[in-house]
């Protein structure tokens, strides 16, 4: 590594990040099509924002990309646990620090000097989105297999409860993606860093 660059993201983190981005995109767009077949609430997603053409096509995309999402997520989490990446990057985190950094971010005063060290707002967002993804996958499994995985569905208030939970986890993840992309636009060097893994000093 050249002396004037610092390593921010490992190769595994970068690869799983982009596979995850693709999987989430496919899952969300096909999921909106599936939602539209029997809307839970008094609205539907615009058809042009959906994937699959018809319900059967959307289900094919959804049940193909779910393997990509789940396997990729498991690889990332296994790496995060055993390499220490998760513990180093996400902890320690305190409520006070999180509130302070979220307020700073909203005032546009969040420092981003060292991209390899997450501020508390980032820590909370990244931990939160991991939990949302776990909830999304578990509720999705409960919807897919409410009989074979009845124990899982019953934790969520049976089939209909799992549907609601699946919807709210999706909403949380979409909200995260919107904020995440907005932040990348505000600090563009983070985008290249997620590709090259490196950041030029100064």
């Amino acid at each position: 590594m050249a002396a004037d660059t610092v390593k921010v993201h490992s190769l595994l983190v970068r690869i799983t990040h982009w596979i995850n981005a693709l999987a989430i995109l496919v899952m969300v767009l096909s999921g909106w099509k599936i939602y539209n077949a029997a809307p839970l609430f008094d609205f539907s997603f615009p058809e042009s924002w959906t994937l699959g053409g018809w319900l059967g096509g959307a289900l094919q995309w959804h049940f193909a990309a779910m393997w990509l999402l789940a396997l990729n997520g498991m690889i990332y989490l296994a790496y995060g646990f055993f390499s220490g990446h998760l513990w180093r990057r996400m902890f320690p985190i305190t409520t006070g620090a999180m509130l302070r950094d979220v307020l700073n971010a909203m005032r546009g005063r969040l420092a981003h000097d060292d991209l390899s060290v997450y501020n508390a707002a980032q820590k909370a967002a990244y931990l939160g989105v991991i939990l949302l993804a776990v909830g999304l996958i578990l509720s999705g499994l409960a919807i897919w297999k409410p009989v074979q995985l009845y124990w899982l569905a019953s934790l969520m208030g049976d089939y209909e409860g799992a549907r609601l939970l699946h919807f709210f986890c999706m909403s949380g993840i979409v909200l995260f993606v919107l904020v995440h992309v907005a932040m990348v636009i505000l600090v563009p060097k983070t985008f290249l860093t997620m590709i090259t893994g490196r950041l030029k000093n100064g």
């Binding site: 939602y35 029997a38 319900l55 289900l59 297999k145 009989v147 074979q148 089939y159 209909e160």
Partner: protein
């Protein structure tokens, strides 16, 4: 055929499906490489994507057969939880519901079965009756709880001397609908040839004179207005399955 066979056939079949799934899983990677070479410029990009999606759906059939526990029962509910009115759903509208004439009705039996004679309604109604209050889950996402009564389908398959080691049971319906299921699901204790809804003769909108109620599969795998049942080792497909819905569609 005694009940011993029935008790053993389920797990054996599930094991068979598991082995087939593992073998298919191993060959899937090699297969996609092969097809990648053979297509070259003959197929458009969309067709290649569709091939991949269809292959994944087939793989999911295997994954679901592997997950399917022939002994796990779908949850049953108190009658107070029954959805009223129970929704009508078909590939056509409620104004096009087929009316089947009870007097002239015959249920045709064919394929890998010993007794291929047709059944009239009175003798079907005389079969031992069981009831269930279970959740019907539609592929669209909505669900509704209903009460169905009829004969346990595994009992019926044994009565007609069906080859319980065959892989598929197919159904043809008076409304030109058709579908098919795996033998392990056909032998599941809650799979029921239903003649009644909510204690009354099945009304036309719920599939008079009979539907196959399968609480371990999505709604479109529950054929209505059945006029023919056959046992086969070739997958007979289905109305929606041939258009792209996942074939196994288990719950």
């Amino acid at each position: 055929m005694d009940s011993n066979l029935k008790d053993h056939a389920g797990p054996l079949l599930a094991n068979l499906e598991r082995r087939l799934f593992l073998r298919r899983g191993l060959s899937l990677g090699a297969l996609s490489l092969l097809s990648g070479c053979e297509l070259t410029d003959a197929l458009t990009y969309d067709e290649r994507v569709q091939r991949l999606l269809t292959a994944m759906s087939k793989w999911n059939d295997g994954a679901q057969a592997w997950l399917f526990d022939p002994k796990r029962l779908a949850p049953e509910f108190p009658e107070s939880m029954i959805t009223n009115p129970f929704p009508f759903n078909a590939y056509y509208g409620e104004d096009e519901i087929r009316l089947v004439d009870a007097a002239g009705y015959k249920l045709e039996i064919s394929g890998l079965v010993r007794e291929k004679r047709a059944w009239g309604l009175p003798e079907l109604y005389a079969l031992p009756e069981v009831s269930q209050v279970t959740r019907h889950i539609c592929v669209e996402g909505w669900s509704a709880i209903g009460k169905w009564s009829g004969v346990r389908f595994s009992d019926f398959l044994q009565r007609i001397g069906a080859d319980l080691s065959a892989r598929y049971v197919g159904f043809k319906c008076a409304d030109d609908y058709y579908t098919s299921i795996d033998m392990a699901t056909a032998l599941h204790p809650q799979t029921q040839l239903s003649f009644k809804y909510a204690g009354e003769t099945l009304p036309p909108k719920y599939g008079f004179p009979m539907k196959l109620r399968i609480p371990t599969k999505l709604g479109f795998k529950n054929p209505k207005h059945i006029v023919a049942i056959f046992v086969s080792n070739e997958n007979p497909g289905g109305y929606w399955e041939d258009k792209g819905y996942n074939w196994f569609s288990g719950s």
